[in-house]
């Protein structure tokens, strides 16, 4: 049990920053992410189709971005946190060869529900903002 800690609602303050994550965007991650989310759109696994759509290579699907954003929040909060919502604005595609830096900050706390808002941004080093949005987590309240 003790191997996994979960933050208490009281431990978290508005303005707290989450540990950054650098994620290497590889062909393996893009293709495997599409398959793990059962997304067989050819632009996510077939380079020639992605190029016909105007991109240099296969690009990450949205369900993988959603997964990486949730993971970013719960890696920090611990496993007893309950994800309440995930709201993502999509930006530039993530293409193999890029590195995406994910950063986040606590922006709101609701004492009645125990829900916190975390503003999260994922920026890749070539085209900039890939995803920006808010993850809401319900944290345990009390000891």
């Amino acid at each position: 049990m003790s191997e996994y800690q979960t933050l208490n609602f009281a431990d978290v303050s508005v303005g707290d920053s989450l540990p950054e994550q650098d994620i290497d965007i590889t062909s393996g991650l893009v293709v495997s992410g599409a398959l793990a989310t059962r997304d067989y759109e050819p632009v996510h696994h077939d380079k020639s189709v992605a190029q016909a759509a105007g991109l240099p290579d296969v690009f990450m699907n949205i369900l993988t971005s959603q997964a990486l954003m949730t993971r970013f929040a719960t890696d920090w909060s611990g496993p007893e946190a309950v994800v309440k919502s995930l709201d993502i604005k999509l930006g530039a595609p993530n293409v193999p060869g890029m590195v995406m830096k994910v950063t986040g900050q606590v922006t709101a706390k609701d004492g009645d529900s125990g829900v916190i808002d975390i503003a999260v941004t994922g920026e890749n080093n070539i085209w900039g903002m890939h995803m920006a949005g808010t993850v809401q987590l319900a944290l345990p309240q009390g000891a």
Partner: protein
């Protein structure tokens, strides 16, 4: 399109608002450990709530759950999308209508999922989806188009509502046609611009490559000058030699180069005019401290460092 043609097109488009993309459809597979494990492996998500039954049994939930972000995954079409294409439904018909009228561009712009209850292995997820809204015609940076939003609702086998998903897509007339599949062009990761080396400054950069910062000196009047140039501004002599700077100096003036990020360069670099103790000025980056910590007159110590695989540059640290 004439205004009348646009009106006729929009009448067809807006008829899709409220149309059902799919009625309550159970996922092909119940929520299961295998698909969860594949997902967590790829995403690098080690949350024990998803994959560690021993931990989960003692947790507040008492059992493992499916990652919430998988909510839509269970109802995905699967490989048919790549082989035979998506089956016809209200959404694919709407997309076809857009395509037939030149709105061939497609861009997912927003996705919002709300979760009301967690799903666990064994649960059967049922999805319904409607076309919820279609925007008015809008000029966007990508081209003129329409945003449409689908609303999917998820429940389990007992009718418990698990969550919703709103997905917003822009269908637009591309401003420029995407280039047809070019040759197998590898993605080139931009690096720093190579230092331009001409007749008058090549020697300076070559010294920099060896870790030294040189200051040109007039051999007639001993005036120091930087950047390197052929003639002394004081006495017009073209005879010169150079001394090596100790790289001790102070901030004469500085700024922070903000957004947008420039590929190959650190984001928000601090750029300063540095007054070297030898007397000349040099423009370089201040590193190793925050912008707020820099002030005019602050003492600095420089080091020539490798900043990418082909570039050596003087970098200045707080002394």
């Amino acid at each position: 399109m004439t205004p009348e043609e646009i009106k006729a097109f929009e009448d067809q488009v807006y008829a899709y608002v409220g149309k059902r993309v799919c009625t309550a459809t159970p996922a092909k597979d119940a929520v299961n450990d295998t698909m969860i494990r594949h997902w967590t492996e790829v995403m690098g998500d080690t949350n024990p709530a998803y994959t560690n039954p021993e931990w989960a049994a003692q947790s507040a939930r008492g059992k493992t759950i499916a990652p919430p972000a998988m909510m839509y995954v269970w109802n995905q079409e699967g490989y048919a999308v790549a082989s035979t294409g998506r089956p016809s439904d209200a959404q694919s018909d709407l997309v076809q209508l857009f395509n037939d009228n030149g709105y061939t561009g497609v861009l997912g712009t927003n996705v919002k999922q709300e979760y009301f209850a967690e799903a666990s292995p064994g649960d059967q997820i049922v999805m319904e989806m409607v076309i919820d809204t279609i925007s008015e015609r809008k000029a966007t940076a990508r081209g003129t188009g329409y945003f449409y939003e689908t609303l999917a609702t998820f429940s389990n086998q007992d009718g418990v509502k698990l969550g919703t998903q709103r997905f917003r897509v822009l269908k637009f007339i591309p401003q420029e046609q995407p280039a047809a599949a070019k040759s197998d062009s590898a993605l080139e990761v931009p690096t720093r611009i190579a230092s331009p080396r001409g007749h008058d400054n090549k020697w300076w950069w070559e010294a920099c490559d060896e870790g030294r910062v040189m200051i040109q000196r007039c051999t007639s009047c001993q005036t120091l000058r930087h950047p390197p140039r052929p003639m002394c501004g004081e006495c017009q002599s073209t005879e010169w030699d150079a001394i090596e700077s100790t790289l001790d100096g102070e901030v004469l003036s500085f700024t922070c180069l903000r957004h947008p990020a420039i590929p190959g360069y650190p984001k928000d670099p601090i750029c300063a005019v540095i007054k070297l103790d030898e007397g000349t000025h040099l423009v370089a980056n201040v590193v190793g401290c925050e912008y707020d910590d820099v002030s005019i007159g602050m003492r600095l110590k420089g080091k020539v460092e490798q900043v990418d695989e082909k570039t050596m540059l003087p970098q200045f640290y707080p002394a």
